[in-house]
Symmetry: C2
Subunit: 255 residues, 2 copies
């Protein structure tokens, strides 16, 4: 594998779940968001709400709420005498990309400045409430929270699937039992070696079943499998999206 | 603003739309995807198809097709005796984030190795056809293409909105006429200064109206506004998603 300081930074980064009390200063925060803005794919359909009033996950001192934002481009189009007609589904799936590319640039920028970060996925689930709290205009969807601060832990990088379980050439292969088993082994042994779930103090309950595992054998593949039992009904998320002005089955404004 | 080599790289990067014939070698490609995998938010619901058979946008020698991928986690859950029950909408919006964070890490890694990249948004629109061509299993959605290669141009970083048009504190403000006008000025003057649309050789036709602009005054805000007239009907994209196994209004498998 090739190596250089940027690759080292990308390869060695891990999410931080313990922070000191020190609050990043305004210049640092401005630097992060500017680096985020410079990400490509720039319809710039994303904005960031700096949240200072916690509590936030992992007792982080701050959270950046990253939003998919079609509001500002709508204002701009209106000033040019146009109305937005593209359907909401397409707008959303492109704006989510804008927002995620910006967010990931902020993660890298933060790492380069000695800050720790952790993505928090819940804003998408609590979108309607966040819309009220942050007074979001229509067509702005809270996508992901990025808590950040100065790390009080230095975790090693976490395991990932084998490369040949993620990178395929020309066609998606049939993944045989051995390939799946090897991917599971790498993930589970990696998290167990770090004592990850014991330190986290969380095991997801096995919905509708007796618990048969302990923190000595509960690991990543079981954790994710159990989470995949949650939220079978799309109605709450569809309602949150509608509250934020996105109707995924609806036609564009003038269609 | 703070500065360091990683921040310089993030701030100076620009999408490349002209490439040499040199094909990145396998070790380089493996390095990029490994760096991508190390991105956070890791349900790892994303995979990458290396495409060598062009032609690709901007005559790039290669394309990495980044997919939101719920197939592998489904195989793993099955091996653990679980079925995926989470609704497709939620799965998709989280998998798209996984995929985008991976993709953006690849962009940064490529830049650090002297490669140029450009995101191509069309795979989301042509998902059903790509599914056939790449033999994607159900629950794998082509999200974005990343063309890459060695740059035959060195564009300066492109303009972005003023920071105070993107970063807000606690609440989304009412954006007044002056703020919108200033954001438009920065974007339009920046792209005109680069002669961007003249070099690109493209102006989007003004749907249903007479053309009143030339490459001397056509710029970013008009370009985006005109694109926002496209695709008022969500049916084609909904059909593409369904072809790839995602029913956004449907309940989870066992709901």
């Amino acid at each position: 594998m090739a190596t250089n300081p940027t690759l080292d930074l990308l390869m060695n980064r891990a999410s931080v779940r313990a922070y000191t009390d020190r609050v990043p200063d305004d210049e640092t925060l401005a630097t992060l968001v500017r680096a985020g803005q410079q990400a490509p794919f720039a319809y710039q359909c994303c904005s960031v709400i700096l949240q200072r009033k916690g509590p936030f996950a992992w007792q982080a001192p701050l959270r950046l709420l990253v939003c998919a934002d079609l509001h500002r481009i709508g204002l701009i189009a209106a000033r040019r005498g146009w109305r937005t007609r593209t359907n909401d589904l397409q707008l959303l799936l492109f704006a989510v990309q804008d927002a995620a590319y910006l967010a990931q640039n902020m993660v890298i920028a933060a790492e380069s400045l000695g800050l720790g970060t952790c993505y928090i996925g819940s804003p998408l689930v609590t979108a309607a409430a966040l819309r009220e709290r942050c007074q979001l205009p229509p067509k702005v969807l809270p996508l992901v929270g990025l808590v950040l601060g100065y790390p009080a832990e230095r975790p090693a990088p976490r395991p990932r699937y084998p490369l040949d379980f993620t990178l395929f050439e020309e066609r998606y292969p049939e993944l045989d039992e051995d390939a799946v088993a090897e991917a599971m082994r790498v993930m589970d042994e990696g998290f167990l070696a770090e004592d990850y779930y014991r330190k986290l103090g969380t095991m997801v309950a096995p919905e509708g079943r007796e618990e048969t595992l302990t923190v000595d054998d509960y690991s990543w593949t079981e954790h994710i499998s159990r989470k995949l039992q949650w939220s079978p009904d799309p109605a709450p998320m569809l309602a949150g999206l509608r509250a934020c002005g996105f109707d995924l089955a609806g036609a564009g404004e003038d269609a």
